[in-house]
């Protein structure tokens, strides 16, 4: 009994520490983004929105934001489509070399990003596709498709295996069944996959930095600003990036959790 309580306290403390460790830098970055002083020191100076005004009037930052938006939206759509296709082919078909096929799809996130980025750069330059915005989109799609696949695969595994056959039995062709049964059933997972892949792509730095050329994304511009000098603008951009990523991840979780709840109730 007593032992259990001690364990509980320790666990709570442990979780609290982890959260503090993860979020403290972000919170400090948020605080310093409103600090009038140039250097992040305590005591703080006065409250100021100077750094926000500065980045909002910086054309480079706007361009990077637009690039990031284009890249993460395109990536989300392509990666979720690929993820859905692989998850469905895994659910529906049995074929030789299915194990290697799945392993190949799940491989990209296990490769160190820097290696992946270098390899992408080398490959894209060789085939003359480097330095374009679509280069980042292609690289990010490969990188994030496994996340979408994992979420959609989980959902498909919850599906009554007779459901698809029931639709055929009622006169639905394979395409009609895909449209009216499989996709509606997977809708929450597809939404979750879209937000998740968008978030991963939005944050991703290494690959973007290597293959982007002149089309910089937000994480890339952050690095350029901090290179050589300490500029509180970084805190302001960082806060924006953090808020957008968090929103996407939270949305992904909401779709993910809502269907879990539903399946528990059902």
């Amino acid at each position: 009994m007593n032992q259990g309580r001690t364990l509980n306290v320790l666990l709570t403390l442990y979780v609290g520490l982890i959260f503090a460790f993860v979020f403290a830098p972000i919170i400090f970055s948020l605080i310093f983004s409103f600090n009038s002083q140039r250097f992040p020191t305590i005591p703080l100076g006065s409250f100021s929105t100077e750094w926000y005004q500065k980045i909002l009037s910086d054309a480079d930052v706007w361009e990077a934001a637009l690039n990031s938006l284009i890249v993460s939206c395109s990536t989300a759509i392509i990666a979720t489509f690929l993820g859905f296709c692989t998850a469905y082919s895994d659910y529906r078909y049995n074929f030789r070399f299915k194990g290697p096929y799945l392993a190949l799809i799940l491989l990209p996130p296990t490769i160190p990003l820097i290696i992946m980025a270098l390899a992408m750069l080398a490959w894209f330059s060789k085939i003359g596709m480097s330095g374009q915005i679509y280069s980042i989109i292609i690289a990010h799609s490969v990188l994030t498709a496994p996340f979408a696949m994992a979420v959609i695969r989980l959902r498909l595994n919850q599906m009554d295996p007779d459901l698809e056959a029931a639709a055929w039995n009622l006169g639905g062709s394979e395409w009609a069944t895909m449209r009216h049964v499989i996709i509606p059933f997977c809708k929450p997972a597809i939404a979750s996959g879209l937000f998740l892949t968008a978030a991963v792509s939005f944050d991703e730095f290494a690959v973007s930095w290597f293959v982007s050329g002149l089309n910089k994304t937000l994480p890339v511009i952050i690095l350029e600003i901090v290179q050589g000098n300490i500029d509180p603008q970084v805190n302001a951009i960082g806060t924006f990036v953090f808020l957008i990523s968090m929103t996407l991840v939270v949305l992904a979780q909401i779709f993910f959790a809502s269907r879990q709840l539903k399946s528990i109730r059902a």
Binding site: D160, D162, L163, A166, A167, N169, L170, H180, R265, A266
Partner: protein, 361 residues
């Protein structure tokens, strides 16, 4: 006798090395309620799935209204199936589930809705039309599943153990719903089940399958009174099986010597010869009990092992001196006239004509 609607012509189904269906050769008549019954793994569900086009026969032909169905895709057939899992679409309401088949068939929205509501009304679940499937009870879901198939107005309805997930009292209710529907619509029902009570209660004819083959086809009464072989007799249960050798043959009876004694059996359908091994069966409800040795043939001296009450019916389990088990079934009120306290001195007897000789197989 009505015309055959479906013909299984030497149909076999193999899954790699596993033979699910050895050879099926039978007909399904137009407008009949046919039950396919057997223990799990006997191939009954595979048979139904072949009829729906979800499995293709390895060899042989399935013909529906004279047309060979082997290569017809599932969605091009008019063979709606009521699934064991029900397989209702969880993201659609009850009404949208019923409309699904019509939508696939290109029926316009207004007509779809009208026909779906008509069927929901017929199934007495109209008030739940716009409810989420997950909020319905087992019995209500069952009715949605039936409406979803019947709204297609098919010639033939396939049912795969549709009542197996329901409570006992609901099963009886749904049995009545199904038989009434079948009679009213006049369409063919093919009903797969492992439950003898469901099959016997509803079907016009029953197909008993074992290990991928048909063991017997007949009316429930035929199968109950005159099982074709040991497999059917054991599967049907509630009967007494005795085995021995033919000791004496007369005009239309034979004397069979078993470890439990000599018994007379009628010989009309099966040809027996002297000295041959033979088994016969007596339905449990055709066995009489007495407290003193009755006159005549076919008696056994037993002691009572246990009793089982199911409603007003009682099944007595008895054992003779050789340890052979006998079952007797009777109404509970009949039983009250016997004093079963002296339970080790009970006499069983039956008419020779009650016995039925099994085919060797």
């Amino acid at each position: 006798m009505s015309a055959p609607l479906v013909i299984f012509d030497k149909v076999q189904k193999h899954f790699d090395d596993f033979v699910a269906v050895k050879e099926l050769d039978f007909e399904i008549r137009e407008g009949e309620f046919l039950a396919i019954m057997g223990p799990s793994g006997c191939g009954k569900t595979t048979t139904l799935r072949m009829l729906a086009g979800l499995e293709a026969p390895t060899t042989g032909e399935i013909r529906l209204s004279g047309q060979v169905m082997n290569d017809v895709r599932p969605h091009e057939r008019d063979t709606p199936l009521v699934w064991q899992s029900l397989a209702l679409f969880p993201f659609l309401s009850a009404r949208e589930n019923v409309e699904f088949g019509l939508k696939m068939g290109g029926v316009d929205k207004a007509e779809r809705k009208e026909r779906a509501l008509k069927w929901l009304d017929k199934m007495q679940i109209l008030e739940f039309a716009d409810r989420d499937i997950s909020t319905l009870s087992g019995g209500q879901k069952q009715r949605v599943a039936l409406a979803r198939s019947l709204v297609m107005e098919p010639q033939i309805l396939l049912l795969d153990e549709p009542l197996s997930a329901l409570d006992a009292h609901l099963v009886i209710r749904m049995q009545a719903v199904l038989t009434d529907l079948q009679r009213e619509l006049g369409i063919t029902f093919v009903y797969v089940t492992h439950s003898q009570s469901e099959a016997f209660a509803m079907a016009d004819r029953v197909v008993i399958m074992g290990e991928g083959e048909i063991a017997q086809i007949g009316t429930p009464k035929d199968i109950y009174r005159a099982p074709a072989n040991q497999f059917v007799a054991e599967f049907v249960g509630r009967n007494n099986i005795l085995s021995g050798t033919v000791a004496e043959l007369a005009q239309d009876t034979a004397r069979i010597t078993t470890p439990s004694g000599d018994f007379m059996v009628p010989v009309n359908e099966v040809s027996l010869s002297q000295g041959q091994n033979a088994s016969f069966v007596i339905s449990a409800d055709l066995v009489h009990i007495a407290m003193a040795k009755p006159d005549g043939e076919n008696t056994a001296h037993c002691r009572l092992i246990s009793e089982e009450f199911v409603g007003s019916m009682v099944t007595l389990f008895l054992e003779d001196a050789k340890g052979h088990e006998f079952k007797v079934q009777m109404q509970e009120r009949e039983l009250s006239s016997f004093d079963l306290k002296s339970s080790d001195n009970i006499w069983l007897s039956w008419d020779t004509q009650s016995a039925h000789v099994l085919n060797e197989s």
